[in-house]
Symmetry: D2
Subunit: 127 residues, 4 copies
Amino acid sequence: MTTDTQTTVGILRQAVADFVDARDWRPFHTPKNLSMSIAIEAAELMERFQWLTTGEAQEAVEDPAELAAVTDELADIVIYCLSLSNALDLDVSSAVLGKLQANEHRYPAGEFRGRFRRPEREKASQG
Amino acid sequence: MTTDTQTTVGILRQAVADFVDARDWRPFHTPKNLSMSIAIEAAELMERFQWLTTGEAQEAVEDPAELAAVTDELADIVIYCLSLSNALDLDVSSAVLGKLQANEHRYPAGEFRGRFRRPEREKASQG
Amino acid sequence: MTTDTQTTVGILRQAVADFVDARDWRPFHTPKNLSMSIAIEAAELMERFQWLTTGEAQEAVEDPAELAAVTDELADIVIYCLSLSNALDLDVSSAVLGKLQANEHRYPAGEFRGRFRRPEREKASQG
Amino acid sequence: MTTDTQTTVGILRQAVADFVDARDWRPFHTPKNLSMSIAIEAAELMERFQWLTTGEAQEAVEDPAELAAVTDELADIVIYCLSLSNALDLDVSSAVLGKLQANEHRYPAGEFRGRFRRPEREKASQG
């Protein structure tokens, strides 16, 4: 039985690569298309919680059927993330641990305990 | 040195959990908020490729500085995915491998080689 | 002074078209790029409310500075929507009123008063 | 027959408000929920172009059935934008024209003719 404690990121990346290659999907799995795909799947995950309050959403996932649906959506997002890491030949583990390390400095535990950073006023984007 | 071939998903999940707990951020890392957070980071990834053609985007990531920026964005997405798996206590590896297995049936390699499924006409959403 | 009661959608579409044409941006404003752009700006809007409960988000917009920031983000989204309608030469007003009419049948007021439709279990997407 | 040249934004906002009120949906149409809803509909729009190159996407919308599907998705996005403007009682026309004016200074036509601004290296977000 698979578990996160025993499964390396590399095993999951290989499973995704095999799935994509068996269908000759590499030409579709470009960085731009995969970035859209991750966003599309993230939206399907959000859809589970769209009309619920933050608290109601937390209760909803206590229902096994709802949790299964949420798990399915999360899997889709992770699969596309792994496919992008394959397409770009980048190491997810170093990226994640490196980013957490960088965030240690940007969000000192003492200063940000129980607090988050409010977003700055947005800058102009291309109209 | 960390590499995907040696790093389990569980190690990354623990690193994210430690980061979140050191800041008492669990109250913010609710399913609804994390689904938004994944989508927000996915949008920052898309922003790297927003105005580029599919081909230009592929060339852009050959620049090490651009690849580093893209890697950074992907890390943010994965970190929130792992935080959601922690919040829901679900196993990412089984979810990913289970979803790939389900997709084996939904996308038979023979039928979908080099082809993708066009989306159906959208169904009405709440106005 | 401009107000929604006096301003036609066509006036706003023309203002966006003039802005885009003055910069020769039509080659960038393709349907695929604009769909990404709308999603990117939608994410910047979500970022204003990312860590707030549904209720806290409602209180936050009572602060004029926060409301101005939210208004700015909404403007970016609408501008890209109008640019897409220009690029596709489609009529926004008929699209909106037509969709509301279709939704009248899909969401009968009697059946959906105070109730929303739970999303179906997601269908497999390309892994 | 409705056309953008004759239809004010206010008429569309009123139609959306009537639809929402007939279903007592105001409690669901909070700023946070509507920002998610706009992003979810934007993702459905992106899905039309997910696996197409920028050029293929442009050809695809020449098919009337595909253009109708895209128009439907755009309508959903605009409807939620108008519902947010109703919920926040803000003027869409002044927001759009004001933002275009601000962008005139941020994107001088001379400097940005045929050119776009590359995104800066992303700043750390909450891990």
